[in-house]
Symmetry: C2
Subunit: 454 residues, 2 copies
């Protein structure tokens, strides 16, 4: 195999939203950019799928929040159409052997459980406001909070089984981890970066406000179209070298020589590249201590959203089956009904490793329990297990393990020589969201622009 | 660059003690073996260094335990000479602003602190005996123990600052992690696999009993000599493919086609290989949730072991500087004095990223505080920061983060199709020791032999 060589101003590793946003900003500034993508498609942790009937669905990221300004800018720039998330009717919370119902999910539990969960949420809001957004490790009691799992905090704070289970489902569905797998500090920081609990729990500034008619993947596709042949698909970068005044990005087929490089990937995947330049001990430790979450995203499609006429919103938070969360995902293009469910955390690992047919049956059992027998008999079922998806190795995001933020968290985004780190996890605002990915791409573009103009 | 092809019975990735032991066992059984090593040397996390005066020292693993039978077998087979660890005289424990002294390290603290530490150790011994060695995740309260950090357990259990600090130093020195970074379950399992606290704390069956005259690296070198040109240095395996009835190990220069493959590396480094065969979701999650520890190993060399005549054993356990532990490392070949110190856990990350000269000064300050001004003025100082050592990315070992063992710990050693996992971490007995590495290599050799004879 022959190796080709080419030279560019900036090389970007990863054509997810972060890498594409960085490429767009740098190209607009006149930089010659090359974007190297391991997959055969752009879009990273967004993933489009076409149903047998032709409608697109999002097997990866799908929701845009009301305050996701950079993403909403792109929606406007590309003349795309938003579709409001359906939320009329009754939410269900299936915990502690019962299914509780209420128009507002977190008010569904019986009084004592509702009270202890509300107090826990209020305490989280108080605590997270003392965590600095840009440097959570500088919070006043950062050491103690980083040495305590969220599980320990939950057991000390929440007094009923039903409320504990609802909290577990909330953590799994929102952050794709078990409460045992993150520290209180990293949880508070994640809530902080998500605009607070109000936003995450469907209140003000809610993060699950809109989908995109035609599918979220259009964002990446349109960004990529504008970049043309600057994007090279199917070219995983194996090694990054530093030679003299340049950086080399080495793939199986080619060497790209660039002035500056952006690694726009999740930290654990960025850690799998071989770096022939001195990274810090903290950076090395961080990429090993910030694993991807675990999630399977499941869709069931029906002739119509029949649960609406039953007064149901389609929203479920649960621990009684394998789905942690369910939401209405009715198809904007045709109005056909769809439910989207998330198997998350430990359940996701267990069910990723089981046969798809068995998983389908189990998910449909869950849906039938919440929405009646019609839900168990969809026209079509499709799911995607992100833990075994190559070049993702998990989803939605990477979270720091306990004892990580205070020991090496500061190595998350600081550039190393001419190497810049982007990706949803590196954003301080909306970390872990598409909005964070786009912001991180713009941030590194600014860092590179400033280095070149100084 | 042209790609060469060759065919073998078994391909082994990694020429540390695990890979070499597997190769030795399989070669003895008549298998044609190839061992692919990324570094330009064999020996993995053992590392030899020659002082300017010509004596060898071990910058990596160095101690052999009294019950490390497989390693002791190799010592005998290669006609190597053991050197007993010096432990006469007074140990020091430098915590809570004072330096306490006693012939037995863990009896040095004042009465109340000694009592609470001893009770904690007794409790650990009781608890760890309920953890099954081969499947810690099946312990009766595994879920709760895996959701609690060792830090939380320590704060609940140990009642004085001095005892807490001594415990911190013990955990850092023995396991190269902060108590915040591992769960109670993974700690109990590690103690269990080390033969219990007696062995780790220098009692019966002690793990730090012997060194090897001439350096521990001789074990790997002699194993490698017997294997001859089956070992290929400087060839990192980038990808492992499964095609038909064979497995391909792909390096930058060559494709090796084999019937069975052994990955004999730490789990996080094994996770950096690209696998073109279906690994489980659990396996993918595990390699992301089992980071390497953090350690800098430091040597100071003197004309003679002057501390001995002062009545000191050379042994220190400390939190008052940056060294967590110090031990006598007097050179068997010449009798010149040497002290070995370990900067471990969070301190190791911080000091890995500082200039070596600054680190040297700081370590020598610590040694002078424990052993007087002569200790601050060595003939030679050398250290090795393992977190930034390529193809190690940390040391001594990988430990599971909280919430890992109960969710994906079962993916640690089970073979996947024709892929076998070896390495010190995969041993059930003496996990994390050289003895565990050798045992793991023999275990996979047996697994492969059995597959071929069935």
């Amino acid at each position: 195999m022959t190796t080709t060589h080419s030279t560019h101003d900036v090389g970007i590793v990863g054509a997810g939203l972060a890498g594409l946003a960085a490429a767009r900003a740098l190209t607009a500034d006149g930089f010659d950019v090359v974007v190297l993508e391991a997959r055969d498609r752009v879009g990273g942790r967004t993933a489009e799928h076409t149903l047998s009937s032709g409608e697109p669905i999002d097997l990866g990221a799908q929701w845009i929040g009301t305050n996701h300004d950079r993403v909403l800018d792109l929606v406007e720039a590309f003349d795309l159409e938003l579709w409001s998330q359906y939320d009329d009717g009754t939410d269900q919370v299936a915990v502690a052997g019962e299914i509780f119902e209420h128009d507002e999910r977190y008010r569904a539990l019986p009084a004592e459980s509702e009270a202890t969960l509300r107090e826990a949420f209020e305490r989280i809001e108080t605590l997270r406001k003392s965590v600095p957004l840009e440097s959570p490790q500088d919070a006043p009691t950062a050491g103690a909070w980083d040495g305590t799992t969220l599980e320990t905090w939950k057991r000390e704070t929440i007094t009923t089984d039903a409320a504990c289970e609802a909290f577990d489902a909330f953590v799994r569905a929102e952050f794709t981890v078990e409460p045992s797998q993150i520290s209180l500090l990293s949880f508070l920081s994640a809530v902080d970066a998500s605009g607070g609990l109000e936003a995450v729990t469907d209140g003000d500034g809610r993060t699950e406000a809109y989908r995109l008619v035609g599918g979220i993947h259009q964002l990446s596709r349109r960004l990529a179209e504008d970049l043309g042949d600057a994007i090279r698909l199917g070219e995983p970068v194996r090694r990054i070298d530093r030679t003299g005044d340049t950086v080399s990005l080495v793939t199986a087929e080619a060497n790209y020589t660039v002035s500056d490089a952006i690694v726009a990937m999740s930290p654990p995947l960025a850690g799998r590249i071989e770096y022939d330049l001195p990274l810090s001990g903290r950076r090395e430790a961080l990429t090993q201590r910030m694993p991807m979450g675990s999630v399977i995203k499941c869709f069931a499609v029906y002739e119509e959203p029949f649960w609406r006429s039953d007064g149901c919103s389609g929203s479920v938070l649960a621990t009684d089956g394998i789905l942690s969360e369910v939401a209405d995902a009715t198809l904007p293009e045709t109005g056909r009904g769809a439910l989207v469910g998330f198997v998350a955390g430990a359940d996701a690992l267990e069910w990723t490793d089981r046969p798809v047919a068995e998983r389908r049956d189990r998910v449909l059992d869950d849906l039938a329990r919440y929405f009646g027998p019609r839900a168990g008999d969809p026209i079509e079922y499709v799911d995607k297990a992100w833990s075994t998806t190559p070049w993702s190795a998990g989803g939605y995001n990477a979270s720091m393990a306990p004892g990580t933020m205070t020991t090496c968290g500061d190595a998350l985004c600081g550039p190393v020589d001419r190497l810049y780190w982007a990706g949803a996890e590196t954003a301080t605002e909306w970390s872990g969201f598409m909005e964070g990915a786009v912001r991180s791409g713009r941030r590194v573009a600014t860092e590179i622009r400033e280095r070149h103009s100084s």
